[in-house]
């Protein structure tokens, strides 16, 4: 445990430090630890356990697995996030997961900008055994999304997963492009995209909160995946994201392999955090 010797004040400070160093953020850490001070018998072991329980409780509220409702065919997932966080790889993992559940999957190669992005997704499509809808490099991502969804409707495919180019949430033209892709899909299927999945890198600091807020503002985020938790970063930024935006955390990425995707578990995450 992070608590050794010392006064109660020191113990609380050490807990706050543990949260800050896990990227929970100064404001959120002091608020969570501050709430611990309220009415309990002073006991060092109890303090650490109460913190774990408090965080686990907070995260339990956003522990909500991605469920594909029967009868929603195709179920359309749009994957978004800033550059390099693991969107394309996560799509590859999801495609394999759904395929092994007996679902048919189509992937949309919606990153028409970055070098070899389409080819990268095609390799993941091969691994999962599912078709990849693509246009040429430099093409309109909205048109790719349209084609992927249209193809899925025609074939009665269970799931469509749309890859999008990495984009910084501060780039208005790129965020407007994302909005437009969503609109194209929505026009084709009025309830789609059924899931707007934001991918966040566990080693990101406080900027991840800005990312979540802005992507949510532009297109609405219905689920979050936090990747690279196999590294040394704790991913604590999801605590303020959960607290402020209350968006379900669907999965965690724990490696580069096709099976390195786990459903988010609040208790396990809280244990690993401190």
């Amino acid at each position: 445990s992070v608590l050794g010797m010392g006064t109660r004040k020191e113990s609380l400070e050490r807990l706050e430090e543990a949260l800050i160093t896990a990227d929970v953020g100064v404001k959120t850490s002091s608020e969570i630890v501050g709430a611990l001070k309220e009415g309990f018998k002073w006991d060092k072991e109890g303090l650490s356990e109460r913190l774990r329980a408090s965080i686990s409780g907070l995260l339990k509220e956003v522990e909500s697995p991605l469920v594909i409702p029967p009868g929603v065919v195709p179920f359309v997932i749009m994957v978004l996030g800033v550059n390099g966080v693991g969107k394309t790889t996560t799509i590859g993992k999801l495609a394999s997961r759904f395929s092994s559940m007996g679902k048919s999957v189509i992937l949309g190669a919606g990153d028409t900008f970055r070098a070899a992005a389409i080819e990268q997704l095609e390799i993941w499509g091969e691994r999962a055994g599912c078709p990849v809808i693509k246009h040429s490099h430099g093409g309109d991502p909205g048109a790719v999304a349209f084609d992927a969804v249209k193809s899925a409707v025609a074939k009665k495919t269970d799931v469509v997963i749309l890859d999008t180019a990495g984009r910084l949430h501060t780039k208005v033209n790129l965020m407007e492009e994302l909005k437009k892709i969503k609109k194209v899909v929505n026009r084709e299927i009025p309830s789609a995209p059924h899931e707007n999945l934001l991918v966040v890198d566990a080693s990101t600091g406080q900027n991840a909160l800005n990312q979540a807020k802005l992507f949510n503002e532009y297109v609405g985020v219905t689920g979050i995946v936090i990747t690279k938790l196999d590294g040394t970063a704790k991913g604590g930024i999801i605590v303020p994201i959960a607290r402020e935006l209350k968006i379900p955390i669907r999965f965690i990425g724990v490696g580069e392999g096709v099976d390195d995707l786990k459903e988010f578990n609040a208790g396990e995450f809280a244990d690993a955090l401190i």
Binding site: T21, A116, I123, S203, A208, K228, E256
Partner: protein
Amino acid sequence: GLSEKLRGIIKDLKGHGTLSEANIESVLKEVRLALLEADVNFTVVKEFISRVKGKALGQDVLLSVTPAQQFIKVVRDELAATLGETASELEFKGRPPVIMLAGLQGSGKTTTTAKLARLLKGKGRNPYVVPADLARPAAVLQLQKLSEEIKVDCFDVAGRKDPVDICTEALRVAKIKGYDTVLVDTAGRLHIDAALMDELKGLKEILSPSEVLLVADSMTGQDAVRTAQGFDEAIGLTGVILTKLDSDARGGAALSMRISTGKPIKFIGVSEKTDGLEVFHPDRMAGRILG
């Protein structure tokens, strides 16, 4: 931002807005908060704040008529000085000199390899890029396509299955064909992955690089120290390139990595395009971190 906050605090201090050893703590607390919110590592913040305190007390800020301005200047100057000397240059030792790029997954290594090649070509050099990432799907193709875009030659991997083999052969070809700089893109990896860090050490042995650059994401949080130290201890860095500074991330990782490894930040990535590489300016970064 921090400047306004500090002005407000110092104005309200007992002693009619003058700084004393007694009341400097409340001002330091505000700086500490700003640095933590900017993602500077917790332990690095502690060390930096004690440096600032020393400088402030030592510089007679306490006797100044405009303590707020004086104090902010002390903080900003100390931050810029810590971040490094301006324009830390690239070294080109070896025949031909090799620049090796390494770092965590997704940090921007492949894109930065192309950016550096383009920059060097623009300065009249004759660079050669080497795609030594066989792990990530289409990584070799990614660097090939970027190299075509910037009209720089790229080593033909041609079915080779081992990064060691690729580096050995690429170096041989580079010598024969007379390229004057070899840039090697490596696969993203975790500093705690012993096998992959051993592979990286092996590649370094073969390449004897003039530069070993950590390519790191500027929005990295508290983990920046572990990452930088991990790579530095394993392969010895000569510098750092911070990417994605076109975001609104404060970039405290810059201070964390600089203080924890002592290595210079040489460049920053400021866009996804191949011309999006700039020389690192410590004073500008200091202002950005303080917010």
